[in-house]
């Protein structure tokens, strides 16, 4: 399977973005806005400049309240990943890269492929009921951790 920056939005997993008013309730309402239709979930599928890996991973998803809520929901059930190096190690393993090396140029594509591979292998986590790939949940957690509000 190939993936890359030019892959159309339709072929990407419907990702972390919002549509209004899907469900009531506090956390449910916010996480719902993360899993939605319409626009591209990923900010970019290429690496940004020469920022450290953790920051680059944390920039792959749009920094929206929905994505942050997903990240928080993930961290509630995976407290150990509040520790950035540990979360980084897990994500590096997801993407098949070195946690301490330079970020590869195709970081976004790799992330996208890892999410797709999770879904096809039925490796999922539940976040407030939403069925998600653990990789995307960890990416959302990274977004939250590298950009604390």
């Amino acid at each position: 399977m190939t993936a890359g920056p030019d892959r159309g939005a339709a072929a990407q997993p419907a990702g972390l973005l919002g549509r209004r008013g899907f469900v009531g309730g506090s956390l449910a309402a916010v996480t719902a806005t993360a899993f939605a239709a319409g626009t591209r979930p990923w900010t970019s599928l290429v690496a940004v400049g020469d920022a450290p890996l953790a920051e680059q991973l944390g920039a792959l998803l749009r920094d929206t309240p929905g994505v942050r809520a997903v990240g928080e929901a993930y961290l509630v059930s995976h407290e150990e990943h509040r520790d950035v190096p540990r979360l980084l190690a897990a994500l590096a393993a997801d993407l098949g890269i070195q946690p301490d090396g330079a970020p590869p140029a195709d970081l976004g594509a790799r992330a996208w492929e890892a999410v797709q591979a999770d879904l096809l292998a039925r490796r999922t986590v539940r976040l407030d009921g939403w069925v998600a790939s653990p990789t995307e949940a960890r990416l959302a957690a990274m977004t939250l951790l590298v950009h604390p509000s």
Binding site: A10, A11, Q12, P13, A14, R19, R20, G21, F22, V23, A28, A32, F35, A36, A37, G38, Q116, D118, L119, L120, R122, R123, T124, R126, D128, G129, W130, V131, A132, S133
Partner: protein, 569 residues
Amino acid sequence: MFADGRELDGAAGPLRADLCIIGGGAAGITVARQLVGSGIRVVVLESGGWEVEDDVQDLSAGENVGLPYFPLETARVRAFGGSTNHWGGTCRPLDARDFEPRPGIPLSGWPIRLSDLEAHLDEAGDICGLGRPVSELDAAEEEDDERPLALGGDDFEARFNEIVADDERSFAPRHRDRLEAADDVAVHLWANVTGIVTDDAGGHVTHVEVATLTGNRYVVEARVVVLAAGGIENARILLASTARDPRGVGNARDQVGRYFMEHPRVLAARILPRDPEIDLGYYEPHDVGGDDYQGYVGLTPARLDQDALADVQLRLRLKRSAAIEQALRSPEARAAERLADWVDGSGPAPIGADLLLLSADLATFGDWFVPGGPLPVPLPDVVRRVLQGSTSERASMVPRLLGGSASYVYSKSTGAGPFESVDVSARAEQVPNPDSRVTLGSDTDALGMPRGQVDWQLTDVEHRSIVRAVDLLGAEVAARGIGRVQVVLPEDGSWPADLAGGWHHMGTTRMSADPATGVVDRDCRVHGIDNLYVAGSSVFSTAGSATPTLTLVALALRLADHLRSAWFR
């Protein structure tokens, strides 16, 4: 011919027949109609008359002591035709694998295989009122213009139910004439069986006791008896027949009434689709070559086996947003509907329903109205077609215009999209569980018979199977870019308040080669009694996820064949 049980002379001594059938519903009617003209003298004893009557219906009342269930007197119809007077008409045969031993499903494996029933399925479909032979179900699927969602891989398959047309559903009008004209079949209406009596040894039924609500009582003696009173009443009648044995008839091994199975139904998940105009026509009832079908999402046998799951049907339905629902109930929407009927000239008609749908369809707006305008102004070409068109064209266009305007106004005023999500409701196969059971209550009915009591119990297998099915759906829907899934069924194994059944009563006299785990043998004969048989879904060894009536009718046809060859050759 038909007779009124209230007027038969009980004092004139036992009424004699070759075959006595207890119950004139789907199963009883099927057995009786097969024997018309055979020379076998058949008596059908049916509790009800031609219509639902409160005092007759009350004979089915009883207590629910397990999971919340329908009030029993509303879960079955006591009238000629039985519950086919109210059924939904959804049909699908059980799969071949339903009859086989399966991983994770306790007591799975019937003493018979689908191949033992296959020869009867087309006729069963015809008796049920299906438009097309059951054997052509796959062909119908190929002809279908509606397409299922592109789910696939190794986990999912698109599957199909056929639905009997409204006016063909009830067995009463469909089969009445044939029975009425038959000299060798007598259907007694308003005739309630209150007991089946055996000889002292308990191995042979000698007679059946009948009582009417007007106080008449009589006895029917027959060589063979078929119990076909429905999944709850079959067990109740056997348990209440204590003239020779306090445990009831056929209950020496304490099996009667156990394994009560339903098709638990629950809102399991919601899909937030990527495409707000997602097409779910395949999952709505829709026409294929003149017959109605409705698709669902099924799991593949490989996945069911691999994860040791009970079978699950996932039905998909668009859920409109609350704002749209409210708007559709508004006086404005009603007025628009009346206007549409007026334009159509035909009074309340589907066109009104179309309007309601269209008014929730934002896409119409784009096709029919000036784009980007502050108000819904029809395109000039649309205006011209309305003004110059024929009455029928106007009839089809005006509601669309109104619909487009309505949806414009709704969306502007509420900010809501046309629908909120896709509801995923799961209908699961319930697995055999001896603790889910029908027993007798302490109360009695108007005829002095102990009332039935239902203790509906589910196991973790059904819950786990539904959760797994929607988890898999969540991964697949996301992987294919269709949308995202939120599971709403609690993960802790508990059942939410919307848990219901499908009005399917199965398993209470289950078929089992071993009398220790069931009540009837492979011929539907009660273990240990030479001349007592059971017809209906109470004989199902396992439930499958398919609706039961088609299969129980096929079983009844097979039983009729067996009775001819074993008893009346």
